[in-house]
C-alpha cells in the first residue's frame, strides 16, 4: 500500500491523465457547417460515350478475322471523359472533368464530391458533357431549391431515364 503522500500524488496524476483522456475524447467540438450552411453532394456514376462512332466492317475486313471474331461493327473501347459543372445562382460550385478509369479507358466514371453552400433559395443548374464528339453540354438540368441549415442536397444522374435527380 502506498504512503498517504504517494496516494495523494497518484490520485492527482490519475486525475490529470483521465481528465485529458476525457476532454480529448469529445472536445474541442468540430464545427463542420456554420448555422447558415448546407451541403451539396454530387454522386455520379456514369459511363461516357465512346470516343468514336462505331464503324461497319467491310467484307474484306471480316474475312481477315477469325470466324469467332467476326462482328458487323468495330466499336472503340475507349470512352469519353465526363465533365460536369454545377452552378448555383450562376456561380460555379462544382466543376470536374474525370477521365474514364481502366487500362483502355473503357470503364464508367464515379464522382463523389461535396461542397458547402449557403442556405436559402437558389437556382441550381447542372451541365454535363459525356462525349468528345459534342461541343458543349450533352445534358443540362435546372431546378430551384430551398436549402435549410445542415441539409444535404444530393445530385444524382439516372442513366435509365437519362436525367438528373435532386433530392
Amino acid at each position: 500500500m502506498p504512503s498517504p503522500k504517494r496516494l495523494i500524488l497518484q490520485i492527482l496524476n490519475y486525475t490529470v491523465f483521465m481528465g485529458l483522456v476525457w476532454y480529448f475524447s469529445f472536445s474541442p467540438p468540430y464545427v463542420r457547417l456554420a448555422p447558415d450552411e448546407s451541403m451539396i453532394t454530387l454522386a455520379l456514376s456514369h459511363a461516357g460515350k465512346p470516343v468514336q462512332e462505331c464503324r461497319k466492317n467491310t467484307q474484306e475486313e471480316m474475312a481477315k478475322l477469325a470466324p469467332n471474331m467476326r462482328v458487323l461493327e468495330d466499336c472503340p473501347r475507349e470512352r469519353s471523359p465526363v465533365r460536369i459543372e454545377v452552378l448555383m445562382d450562376d456561380e460555379s460550385v462544382i466543376d470536374k472533368t474525370v477521365d474514364p478509369p481502366g487500362l483502355y479507358k473503357d470503364q464508367g466514371v464515379d464522382i463523389y464530391h461535396s461542397v458547402k453552400v449557403p442556405t436559402g433559395d437558389h437556382r441550381i443548374v447542372i451541365r454535363m458533357n459525356d462525349s468528345v464528339l459534342v461541343d458543349g453540354p450533352t445534358h443540362q438540368y435546372q431546378q430551384a431549391v430551398s436549402l435549410e441549415p445542415a441539409q444535404l442536397l444530393v445530385i444524382q444522374f439516372n442513366g435509365g431515364q437519362n436525367q438528373f435527380i435532386l433530392r
Binding site: R6, L9, Q10, T15, M18, M39, D110, Y112, A150, Q156
Partner: protein, 518 residues
C-alpha cells in the same frame, strides 16, 4: 559534462516526478507498453459485453447502444464508457511510449525493428477505433463512414464509389454486418499479430502491468465512466449533414483534414508522416557495437547467458568442438545489442581466475573484453589515494561516472552494469577498495531492459552468478542515477564515503581493543 538535449532532460524530469508519485515499481512511464496491454484487456472485456446487446443492423444499432447507455446505465452504460475511455487511454499511452523511446534515443540502432513495426501497429489501433465509432450509427458514425469511404475511393484498388453507399436507399444491413465483423474479429486479430511482430525481437516480454498500477488505472477509468458516461450523437440521418461534431481526437483527427485537402492529398500526408516515422531510426543511423563473441574453450554450455539476454540473441545448441560438455551457446550478430549482459552472466567472467595471463571468459565483448575490465579495475585501484578509497562502477547510458573521479574515488564504466560480474565487486574489495559504489540507469529503466534487474538479482536473490555470501554487503551500495541526476549521486557518494570511513574508524578501534585484550 555530458550534453543532454532539452527533450531528454524534460522527459527525465517528468519520469522523476512519476518516480516520486508512484515509485519505480509502479512508475507508469516505465510500463507504458504493459499499461497499453491492460487498456486493451479492458476494451476486450467491455467490448464482449457490449456485443451481447448490440444489434448489428442499420435500424437496430443505434437503439441498442442507446438502450445500453440509458436503460442499463449501471452496467451497459459503464461498459460502454470503459470501452471508449480505455481505447482513448491506449492511444495516449502508445503515443507516450513512442515519445519516450524518441526522447531517450531508444528507437535507433538495434531497436529499429521494434520502432518500425510499432508505427503500423498504431495505425491498426486507430482503424480499429474508427470502425468502432462507425458501429454506433449516430451522426458521428455517419460522418466517419462517409469520410472513410471517400478516403477509400481515392485508392486505385477500389472500383466504384464506396461513399455512394451512404446515400438514401443504398445502404443495407449486409454492409453494416461487414463492419461489425471487421471491428469484432478481423481488426483485433490483425492487431494481435502486429503486436506479436512488434515484440518479436525481445526476450522476457512483459505484457502484464504491475498490479498496483493496473488497479489504480482501472479505478480511474471506472470513476471517469460514472462521472461522465460516454454518450451518442443524434441518430444518423442520411438527409442531413452533422454540423457540429464532438470528435474523439485520439482516433478521428484525420477527418477534419478532409475539409481542407482532397482525399488523395490526405493519403499523401498520412503516408508521408508514416514513412517519416518509419525511417527515423536511420535519421541519422546509430551504430551498434560489436556483437558478443563466444569462446568455446571457456564455455560449458550452461546457457545462463541465453537466459539473461534481453534481446533473444543467444541460443543454446549442440556442442560443435568435441568438448565433454553437451551444449554450447551461439550469438546471432543481427540480434545482439552489444550490451554485454551475457558477460556478467558467465561464471567464467571471474577476475580471480589467474591460470592464464590473459583472462578469458565463455562469452565476451570485443570492444571491452573481460581481461581489459580486470586490467582497468586493477589500474584504477592502484591509483587510489587517501584513507577511504572508493571505486565506482557505472554504465555508458546513465550518469557519466567520470565526473565523480577524485584521488580517493576511481571510476569504471561498463557497457551496462549487467555486464559487471559479481566477482568483480569482491575482487575490488580485496585489491584496495574500501567501498564499491555501483550506479547505472534508474531503477526499472535499464537502457538494455534487464541489466540492472539481473545485477540486483545476482547480488540479492541468488540469480546466477551470485555475489558470494561472504562479501561484506555493508561496503557496497547501489544508487541508480540518470544522466541528469548529478546532484543526487554526488550527495549519495559523499554519504557512502562517510559511512565507509566511519566503519574504518570502528574497525581500527576494535583492532586496538583486540590488541589490548591480547
Amino acid at each position: 559534462m555530458k550534453f543532454v538535449n532539452p527533450i531528454k532532460r524534460g522527459y527525465l524530469a517528468l519520469e522523476e516526478w512519476f518516480n516520486i508519485s508512484f515509485g519505480p515499481e509502479w512508475n507508469p512511464l516505465y510500463h507504458l507498453g504493459t499499461l497499453t496491454f491492460f487498456f486493451f484487456w479492458v476494451v476486450l472485456v467491455s467490448g464482449i459485453y457490449l456485443f451481447i446487446f448490440f444489434d448489428t443492423s442499420l435500424s437496430g444499432a443505434y437503439n441498442s447502444v442507446e438502450y445500453l447507455t440509458h436503460e442499463q446505465w449501471y452496467l451497459g452504460g459503464v461498459m460502454r464508457s470503459l470501452h471508449r475511455y480505455a481505447s482513448d487511454a491506449a492511444v495516449a499511452t502508445i503515443i507516450l511510449h513512442m515519445f519516450r523511446e524518441f526522447a531517450l534515443d531508444r528507437y535507433r540502432g538495434f531497436r529499429w525493428f521494434s520502432w518500425v513495426t510499432g508505427v503500423p501497429t498504431l495505425w491498426f489501433v486507430i482503424t480499429l477505433g474508427i470502425t468502432g465509432y462507425w458501429l454506433v450509427w449516430d451522426e458521428l458514425g455517419l460522418y466517419v463512414a462517409v469520410l472513410s469511404s471517400q478516403l477509400m475511393d481515392a485508392l486505385p484498388i477500389v472500383s466504384g464509389s464506396m461513399a455512394s453507399n451512404f446515400l438514401e436507399g443504398q445502404l443495407t444491413d449486409r454492409f453494416f454486418t461487414l463492419m461489425g465483423f471487421l471491428h469484432l474479429l478481423g481488426q483485433p486479430v490483425l492487431l494481435i499479430f502486429a503486436l506479436w511482430i512488434h515484440v518479436k525481437r525481445l526476450a522476457h516480454v512483459e505484457i502484464s502491468a504491475p498490479r498496483g498500477l493496473a488497479i489504480g488505472s482501472f479505478i480511474a477509468l471506472l470513476t471517469l465512466s460514472f462521472i461522465w458516461p460516454a454518450v451518442s450523437h443524434a441518430p444518423a440521418d442520411l438527409h442531413k449533414v452533422p454540423a457540429v461534431l464532438n470528435l474523439d481526437w485520439f482516433y478521428l483527427n484525420i477527418y477534419p483534414v478532409l475539409d481542407y485537402l482532397t482525399a488523395g492529398q490526405t493519403w499523401a500526408l498520412t503516408m508521408g508522416v508514416t514513412a517519416l516515422l518509419m525511417i527515423m531510426p536511420w535519421l541519422p543511423p546509430k551504430k551498434t557495437g560489436a556483437a558478443a563473441e563466444v569462446h568455446l574453450d571457456e564455455c560449458n554450455g550452461c546457457g545462463q547467458c541465453a537466459v539473461d539476454c534481453p534481446f533473444d540473441a543467444i541460443s543454446v545448441q549442440a556442442r560443435t568442438d568435441g568438448a565433454r560438455w553437451e551444449y554450447e551457446v551461439a550469438v546471432d550478430d543481427n540480434l545482439c545489442a552489444a550490451c554485454g549482459i551475457c558477460v556478467g552472466s558467465c561464471h567464467s567472467s571471474n577476475p580471480f581466475r589467474s591460470s592464464k595471463k590473459v583472462l578469458e571468459t565463455g562469452i565476451d565483448m570485443p570492444q571491452f573484453p573481460i581481461d581489459e575490465v580486470r586490467n582497468q579495475t586493477k589500474t584504477a585501484l592502484n591509483a587510489l589515494q587517501g584513507e577511504t578509497r572508493i571505486i565506482v562502477f557505472g554504465c555508458d547510458h546513465a550518469f557519466d561516472v567520470e565526473e565523480l573521479k577524485k584521488p580517493n574515488v576511481a571510476v569504471l564504466n561498463f557497457l551496462c552494469t549487467g555486464m559487471m560480474p559479481p566477482t568483480l565487486v569482491e575482487y575490488a574489495l580485496k585489491n584496495g577498495a574500501d567501498g564499491v559504489f555501483i550506479t547505472g540507469c534508474r531503477k526499472g529503466d535499464c537502457y538494455y531492459r534487464y541489466g540492472n534487474i539481473w545485477m540486483d538479482k545476482r547480488f540479492n536473490e541468488g540469480r546466477k552468478p551470485v555475489l558470494r555470501e561472504r562479501v561484506d554487503r555493508s561496503r557496497i551500495t547501489v544508487f541508480r542515477a540518470a544522466v541528469t541526476d548529478g546532484k543526487e549521486i554526488r550527495k549519495e557518494i559523499t554519504k557512502f564515503t562517510n559511512r565507509v570511513a566511519n566503519m574504518q574508524k570502528g574497525e581500527t578501534a576494535s583492532n586496538i581493543k583486540e590488541v589490548e585484550n591480547a
